[in-house]
């Protein structure tokens, strides 16, 4: 009980600290920008640890962060091998292919009204094909190794990317388009000089949403058949062995990888769409 109360106090304190920092005079400093989420995260972890201990939650349901950390550190080689298999081979290649294909199709759709009318509704249909249905089929088609995982990722990132890219390519104002008309600019000229830059905020939106989908897709697809390596493989077999600490260690890897990738995308976005009001502050 004491631990539970302690957890609540800790939570209040962490939030108070963050309010002080974020509303304080140095809120813009890079250090503070980093510190605030970290404090938030650390608070969550501590509260978690205290609650698990205070409420005697069985380890097989929710292990304490300290247990997860121990497991993480002791299993680094395994985690690295799994990371390479799932993220580097499965997720990344699928992400690149899926987003690339979506961009291409978005351009096709943008070029032809006929295709827009015809393909978008069909695209909606593909979007909702649930991973649990597509993954077994794709494993059957592309084998057990990372190729089938990449295929699952392609299918799951394609539509979010397409919707965003199509919306983005329609983002120009009438005057901006008229200007291009007066220059009698060709399609590709106005594409590269007007529509693509104007679409960038939306495209990055799609890239960011897809990045997390890719990760999940690659991991989940391994539940439906895999070689004996990979994050999804490890998670599902560890659940069977009730090694919940291992499950969470893999989740930590996924979260770290996903966050880093997302951060990288956000950084590039800042560079590319510096002119957009949402980036100018």
């Amino acid at each position: 009980m004491i631990l539970v109360i302690l957890a609540l106090i800790l939570w209040a304190f962490g939030w108070w600290l963050n309010v002080r920092l974020a509303e304080g005079p140095n809120a813009g400093a890079p250090l503070v920008r980093l510190a605030v989420p970290v404090i938030f995260g650390v608070t969550v972890l501590l509260v978690w640890e205290l609650l698990v201990r205070g409420l005697n939650v069985p380890m097989v349901i929710l292990p304490a962060p300290s247990l997860i950390a121990t497991r993480f550190v002791t299993s680094l080689p395994v985690l690295w091998v799994d990371f390479r298999q799932t993220i580097l081979k499965g997720a990344l290649s699928g992400y690149i292919m899926g987003c690339g294909a979506a961009l291409l199709v978005a351009v096709l759709i943008d070029r032809s009204d006929f295709l827009r009318r015809g393909l978008l509704p069909v695209g909606n249909l593909v979007a909702a094909l649930p991973i649990v249905g597509t993954a077994p089929i794709l494993v059957m088609w592309f084998g057990f190794d990372w190729q089938s995982k990449a295929a699952v990722v392609v299918v799951s990132v394609f539509f979010p990317m397409l919707v965003n890219a199509v919306a983005g390519l329609a983002q120009t104002t009438a005057m901006q388009r008229d200007l291009m008309r007066t220059y009698a600019a060709g399609y590709w000229q106005s594409f590269f000089k007007l529509r693509l830059p104007a679409a960038m905020p939306f495209i990055f939106n799609g890239l960011k949403v897809s990045s997390t989908l890719a990760l999940i897709g690659a991991i989940v697809a391994e539940f439906f058949g895999s070689p004996t390596v990979g994050m999804g493989f490890r998670i599902s077999t560890s659940v069977g062995q009730l090694s919940l600490d291992m499950v969470w260690a893999e989740i930590v890897v996924a979260a770290l990888a996903g966050t880093l990738f997302y951060g990288l995308l956000a950084l590039i976005e800042k560079g590319v769409t510096f002119w957009h009001p949402s980036q100018r502050g």
């Binding site: 104002t173 005057m175 901006q176 008229d178 200007l179 291009m180 008309r181 007066t182 220059y183 009698a184 600019a185 060709g186 000229q189 000089k193 007007l194 830059p197 104007a198 960038m200 769409t273 510096f274 002119w275 957009h276 100018r280």
Partner: protein, 261 residues
């Protein structure tokens, strides 16, 4: 003046359909513009000046009548890159610096890199924006943005220059300066210029032909051929001929307004 018709509008009509009924923006407009003409359009706000300019540049489809540009349809002329257009608002692309905004048409029309840079330098100087090439549009004042958009239209060699209130946001001194520059450019290149303005002296000072429009539905109230010589020092504005034409324009304008003074 060669007497060759560049723009020829016959019974032009344009009706917009809006959520609360049709708006008759242009009604039975007839106009002939000859090569090398400097035509000003003047008229109350909302009378259809912008619309007419847009029709000329094939940005709007007339709903009735015909219009030809160099004997072609406006759209064919557009494809031949006959137009330089300055919009009523600056409309710079926010992701490009001023210099890159000016380069935009040059890139599209395939000018060489060296030529591009030289032209950008030249037009930036023309509109008094040297040193601002590296800034982004939102870092410039309204007037500076407008000047940048003028520079963008002047950077390449279009036969027909259409300018929609280009000097609206500028002070008199700069305006006088740019008026002179524009006249010099016109004399040098023999471009045909369509120019929308609200300033009567500006219209009279610049034009060979002044088109006075009357409001809703937009019609041409008067077309005044200027007897002023092509060579125009600023002082011409004090001559009786100038004041006489200005008076005629003012009368034409006033007729279109409802205020009874």
């Amino acid at each position: 003046m060669t007497g060759q018709a560049v723009i020829e509008a016959r019974d032009l009509n344009l009706v917009f359909h809006t959520n609360d009924g049709p708006v008759h923006a242009l009604k039975d407009v007839n106009l002939t513009v000859e090569k090398g003409d400097f035509v000003s359009f003047i008229g109350p706000s909302g009378c259809g000046k912008t619309t007419f300019l847009r029709v000329m540049a094939a940005l709007e489809q007339p709903t009735g009548g015909t219009i030809t540009v160099n004997g072609m349809t406006p759209d064919e002329a557009r494809r031949k890159r006959a137009y330089g257009y300055v919009f009523q608002a600056a409309g710079l692309y926010p992701w490009r610096t001023i210099a890159k905004n000016i380069k935009l048409p040059l890139e599209i029309m395939g000018y060489s890199k060296a030529d591009q840079n030289a032209r950008v330098e030249a037009v930036l100087k023309l509109v008094d924006l040297e040193g601002f090439g590296g800034k982004y549009p939102w870092q410039l004042s309204g007037g500076m943005q407008q000047r940048a958009s003028i520079a963008r239209a002047l950077a390449f060699d279009a036969d027909i220059l259409l300018m929609d209130e280009p000097f609206g946001a500028l002070d008199e001194i700069v305006r006088d300066h740019l008026n002179e520059q524009l006249l010099a450019l016109w004399a040098r290149t023999g471009k045909t210029i369509g120019f929308v303005t609200h300033s009567i002296p500006e219209a009279v000072y610049l034009s060979t032909k002044i088109v006075v429009m009357s409001p809703r539905p937009g019609r041409i109230a008067d077309v005044i051929e200027s007897p002023l010589p092509r060579e125009r020092p600023l002082e011409i504005r004090d001559t009786p001929e100038f004041i006489e034409i200005a008076h005629r324009v003012r009368e034409g304008l006033r007729a279109g307004h409802s205020y009874d003074e």
